[in-house]
Point group: C2
Chain length 354, copies 2
């Protein structure tokens, strides 16, 4: 396939972005029964709180879980501070609350340490990892394997989306919601259509020039998407990018938005749509250049740069699809800057932090 | 005093930064007995988890609480997602866990809503606010008033440091720790010395030119400081600034650091000092321009730009002092760019988000 020219050379990152529909489909096939058993065990244990240890993209999956498990199950979900365990020797007392570790490699010692401490304290533990034979999986009571296949690009893409799918499947089984399982089964097709459609859209946007200090904004379920896209842009391009919830942006950092400032709104249809629409107005008043990821044509029509999503994802699953144009945009911006996206600026794939 | 020239005109922000020692001293005097009663009530209630609702700088005070209450009291501290209450109609079930709202004005409807929901659910609630007659104070079982005096500059400074002091005082009384109360009483003097010393240091740094896309980095207790300083830079200057824990930075975003990239390390002496030292080495290998806030002369000696702190603050109180050079740096960068720091780019002081 590759002809050797930059235009057609396939990167690992491209390939892994393209594998996302397949990865999610495989997860749903192979883990459905196992996740149902995990959900039954957690219900039996009477879990009342959830603490998630994760870093990088996995931390953004944890942000998604905060809304997913909050809205549907009213569970308070906290993001762990691993250094409390590894540096301060003071693991939180969870009193039977669930500790979850999310890690692509399952080999980050600090994430393993948080689960070890929770287990020693008698609390149930769950590992969500792409490597079912990893130390993280070994230390956990329950494991959801991502089945995403090897991820070799430094920037996580398919394991991120698979982590979201794993969490959504867990929520579906915790709530006995066949409708959500059915909606999840439609996600691989939505992902495939998004990947195909968005490549051209992001190329048009990225090729207008570098987007210095982009702000990415979402709210509710898609706050996670905004943070993940900012991380992708920063990792892959070395450029500045910062993420905010629409409410937090209004609390101060909107000051940094002036004429021509690039802002990426993650705005799939949902409960928070009016908030995003109001923010879009305020940003336009400041002269910002607005790129918008959305499924509603009316929302897209008001954007300077429209990044359309296919309709059909319920709000609670929209982050699985809405991240894709952001992944592709980050990759395209990096390519335009001559950066090797598979090894951007000397990063290692697995970072062992303590 | 003001002669009308930019050099000598005093801004509200300057004045409020200077009022910080006095604000903390007043809080300690006026709230000590009240906070002791709050601590006794929380102990009697058997509080096992803490959920904090806050935005902007107050959210960074919540990050400090995550370490303060985690290390000393082994309490899991989660940051609330207010939209779960205000948008999704799904307040978390706290089962007797403490809900804390931190808000300078006490008038942010979403923060009030989180406390209202917790109270309705039978969980204890605590307001930390500069306005003891605010809606937030009215809805809470317990109130810690900040006594910082009116804060008129858009960028929070003295109410941020006072919020940290309030949390530290609460921790001291929860743990019956007279040593921590005594150390807190030394903070006003440390603040005054830091303010005096750092003004010249930040001027030398800021006047070398704009610091585009600064990264701020801390770990443990001072992760909050890194996030707060990045917020100050973004609010006041409109420039890009992003904050990371040292561990999260290594997980990917260090890719954005190249030759000459400005990085601000918040590195007071503490348990995480070796982590910051290791990171400093990695950043130097990439050619970054390192500004360092620290009390240890050896740590400062390795910096391109040293922002010294007076010695004497224990690690758990160091965030109260270490934020000051960051506040002053943000103000100086803004002044150098000709920005009115008291009304940067049309922001309002009180932002009402839902």
């Amino acid at each position: 396939m590759a002809t050797g020219t930059p235009e057609t050379a396939r990167t690992l990152l491209d390939a892994e972005i393209d594998e996302q529909p397949e990865a999610v489909a495989r997860l749903l096939d192979r883990e459905d029964a196992g996740v149902a058993r995990v959900a039954a065990a957690l219900r039996a244990a009477g879990v009342r709180t959830v603490t998630i240890a994760a870093r990088g993209s996995s931390d953004n999956a944890a942000r998604y879980a905060q809304y997913l498990l909050g809205v549907r199950h009213r569970l308070p979900v906290g993001l762990a501070a691993p250094s409390l365990v590894t540096r301060y020797g003071a693991p939180p007392r969870l009193h039977g609350g669930l500790a979850v570790g999310i890690s692509q490699s399952g080999r980050s010692p600090d994430i393993v340490a948080v689960l070890e401490a929770a287990r020693a304290d008698g609390s149930p533990t769950l590992a969500i990892t792409n490597d079912a034979s990893s130390p993280l999986a070994a230390v956990a009571d329950h494991v959801i394997a991502l089945h995403a296949g090897p991820e070799r690009s430094v920037a996580a893409t398919k394991t991120y989306v698979a982590s979201l799918a794993a969490l959504a499947l867990l929520s579906a089984h915790l709530g006995g919601r066949e409708d959500l399982v059915a909606a999840l089964r439609a996600v691989p097709d939505l992902l495939a259509r998004t990947i195909t459609g968005a490549r051209g859209d992001v190329a048009a946007l990225a090729d207008t020039g570098p987007l210095a200090s982009t702000l990415t904004v979402g709210r509710g379920y898609n706050y996670a998407t905004a943070v993940e896209v900012a991380l992708k842009i920063r990792e892959l391009t070395g450029g500045g990018a910062a993420a905010y919830s629409s409410a937090d942006l209004l609390h101060g950092p909107i000051a940094s938005v002036g004429a021509g400032s690039p802002v990426l709104l993650v705005a799939p249809t949902g409960v928070v749509s009016p908030d995003l629409a109001e923010l879009a107005g305020a940003l336009r008043d400041r002269g910002a250049r607005l790129a918008v990821i959305a499924d509603d044509p009316a929302v897209l029509a008001a954007a300077d740069d429209a990044l359309p999503l296919p309709p059909g994802a319920p709000e609670e699953l929209s982050p699985l699809v809405a991240v894709v144009p952001g992944q592709l945009l980050a990759a395209r911006l990096a390519a335009a800057a001559g950066i090797d996206v598979d090894r951007p600026l000397g990063l290692a794939k697995v970072t062992e932090t303590y």
